[in-house]
């Protein structure tokens, strides 16, 4: 059994180590580099969205037959990244995985920002984004309502619900920590701001009892929610009749891929941040090791999905399925399929077997970045299938333009900008749950998890 908190921490030192990152206002050079890079890239998003709104979606490379292009690739990529946060905070909570405690806050924040980045793409992909509210059913003079038999309408509800529930879950988790910051802060403005955000939390026994129940039930609700969200996202593809999209393996295949890329993003961010803020006591090598193992497992699930796609196309004796498979592997976009196999299977699934790699910051970072690239290519490969439909007369080519890339880089900017602001202003590890996790003789709750006392 590896210790989840290194060194002899007590209640006060846990609060100081985590809370002072926020309260001190002193930030390492790494923070400034990350924040300013994110801020600069955010400007790229602002410019490309402004140009898009002025000119229309013609500035992108989308065409018929590839009508979806980068917008949906990036949408699926981002929302998949978000899923790891919910997996860590909800599913691992239900499974009594105590190592989740030091990464759940961080991962939940990542979820929220990733879903925000994801949400940008469908909205700006609408020709007239100012009518976005037409996606929602509301009484209107035209008497027109959405078509609820379409997975695209399900997607609207799935993603907005996912965002709202993630935000509620995150905020409820933050309230006791905000109260701790309120009481720990020395500066007056900090006491006022954190005091307002803490909504008068005073750690009352009766409040805690309700709180724990809500937290547990939110975990229980988020678990099927996260599975349903990516299932619905996969339905966007699977409910169509495009060859290789119309497959029953899509929902589990997408969910596994989402967790794969999401854990990669969590680890890719955690490695530099724990280094800059000297939080190795809480984000231990053991945490990295466990998360790398999750990536290894989900990586094999995804690889099975690639195998199954090819196998079913061959075994199904469908001319179109098999023809499209050959086009996917050896056609004009075949290079992207091989990139996908290299980055998603070749690099991580060979390296992550080694404990040395899983416990080496550099190599683990390499694997994570490789997975993030690979999972992006997976969505690219899926979307580009549109260029090879059943009938050769509807075949076409697709090439992203400068503005496609600019919007993608810009969404990364939005993510990093928000994430570094979060690191600056909110505790990135749950102070309360870390205190609960401390052994009893160090003043903690002896690893009592919220699950165990929520009647």
């Amino acid at each position: 059994m590896h210790p989840l908190v290194l060194k002899k921490h007590d209640l006060v030192s846990v609060g100081d180590a985590i809370g002072n990152v926020v309260l001190d206002g002193k930030h390492p050079r790494g923070w400034w580099i990350g924040f300013l890079a994110g801020f600069a890239m955010l400007q790229v998003l602002a410019v490309s969205v402004a140009w898009l709104f002025y000119m229309g979606t013609g500035i992108w490379g989308i065409n018929v037959p590839v009508a979806w292009g980068f917008a949906i690739i990036n949408f699926v990529w981002w929302i998949g990244i978000g899923h790891a946060g919910t997996l860590i905070s909800a599913i691992l909570l239900l499974l009594h995985q105590k190592w989740r405690t030091s990464i759940n806050r961080f991962a939940e924040a990542m979820t929220i920002f990733a879903v925000m980045c994801a949400g940008v793409f469908p909205l700006i992909h609408m020709g007239r984004p100012w009518f976005f509210y037409w996606l929602m059913p509301f009484p209107n003079i035209a008497g027109v309502y959405p078509q609820f038999r379409s997975p695209l309408a399900w997607d609207v509800f799935a993603v907005t619900t996912y965002f709202t529930v993630s935000l509620v879950f995150w905020y409820i988790g933050l309230v006791p920590d905000l109260a701790a910051l309120r009481d720990q802060a020395q500066k007056k403005w900090q006491r006022i701001v954190y005091g307002l955000l803490a909504i008068g939390w005073r750690g009352s026994a009766i409040h805690w009892r309700r709180y724990e129940k809500v937290y547990l039930l939110l975990g229980g609700l988020s678990t099927p929610l996260v599975l349903s969200v990516h299932t619905v996202v996969s339905f966007d593809f699977a409910v169509s009749i495009v060859p290789l999209w119309h497959a029953t393996i899509f929902p589990p295949f997408f969910v596994a891929g989402a967790i794969f890329s999401g854990f990669a993003m969590v680890v890719a961010l955690a490695i530099p941040i724990r280094h800059w803020y000297k939080l190795e006591d809480f984000f231990t090598d053991h945490h990295m090791d466990v998360m790398a193992k999750v990536m290894l497992a989900t990586g094999f699930m995804v690889t099975y999905g690639y195998f199954s796609e090819v196998w079913m196309a061959w075994y199904g004796h469908s001319l179109y399925e098999w023809g499209t498979t050959i086009e996917r592997i050896f056609g004009p976009y075949g290079w992207s399929y091989w990139c996908l196999l290299l980055f998603n299977c070749g690099i991580p699934l060979t390296l992550l077997w080694s404990k040395k790699v899983r416990r080496s910051e550099l190599w683990l970072e390499v694997c994570c970045v490789s997975i993030l690239i690979g999972m992006w290519f997976e969505r690219y490969v899926i979307v580009i299938t549109l260029s090879r439909d059943q009938v050769p007369s509807s075949w076409g080519r697709y090439a992203p333009t400068f503005w496609d890339y600019a919007t993608m880089v810009g969404s990364l900017g939005l993510f990093f900008f928000l994430f570094f602001l979060f690191i600056r202003f909110l505790p990135m590890i749950s102070i309360t749950e870390m205190r609960e996790l401390l052994p009893k003789k160090q003043g903690g709750g002896g690893g009592h998890s919220i699950m165990e006392n929520a009647p």
């Binding site: 005073r202 009352s204 809500v214």
Partner: protein, 200 residues
């Protein structure tokens, strides 16, 4: 004819409170005792309950379930709140789709029946999760009386440590057994780190 008779206002305020305390003086809110560990708090809470106090609360940096049990608050209402919220949302979500697609704006999609309920399941599910989560959140706030900007306990200087490293027991003045002197003495006898009477 009505004649207003002017009231005679005395030049000197002659009102005298004959007995009893000044009504404007701060009233006691609770006796607050701080303990070093959760175990000490649990023992103290059990003692206070055994001594006949009923209006108690504890304030801890992380949940200490045993104190809630001792106070006699064994089960929270949140499960019921979220169940009702979730079921309402699921039904409303389903009915919304049924109404919109079968009655309000009937769409014939590939000859499927208007009431093609399997395709209404995903949104009904999402609506259930959404409303259950929101009713949990707002129900929690409402039942706990939050958000609030202040609370009498925050008048205590020591209470800052309730979110840090101390575990507090408060015996509230609304308790029928409460008496400033006796309750203070009782709390001091529980071997706390600090004990004080907090004013409203």
């Amino acid at each position: 004819m009505n004649v207003d008779i002017p009231t005679i206002v005395p030049l000197v305020n002659t009102t005298v409170v004959p007995h009893g305390p000044d009504p404007d003086a701060p009233k006691p809110f609770a006796v607050l005792a701080g303990f070093a560990t959760a175990d000490d708090l649990i023992v103290a809470t059990r003692k206070a309950v055994a001594a006949g106090y009923t209006r108690l609360d504890t304030h801890t940096p992380y949940p200490v379930a045993e104190t809630a049990d001792a106070i006699g608050y064994p089960k929270s209402e949140m499960g019921a709140v979220m169940l009702v919220g979730g079921l309402t949302g699921a039904l409303a979500g389903f009915f919304m789709q049924y109404w919109d697609n079968a009655w309000g704006y009937s769409l014939n999609i590939g000859g499927r029946p208007y009431m093609s309920w399997p395709s209404f399941v995903p949104i009904a599910f999402e609506m259930m999760v959404l409303t259950a989560a929101l009713s949990g959140f707002f129900g929690l706030l409402a039942l706990c009386g939050l958000p609030r900007l202040n609370h009498p306990l925050f008048n205590s200087k020591a209470f800052d440590r309730a979110t840090r490293d101390q575990f507090f027991l408060s015996i509230e003045a609304v308790d029928p057994k409460y008496s400033s002197t006796e309750t203070l003495a009782f709390a001091a006898g529980l071997n706390p780190l600090s004990v004080e009477e907090v004013m409203e």
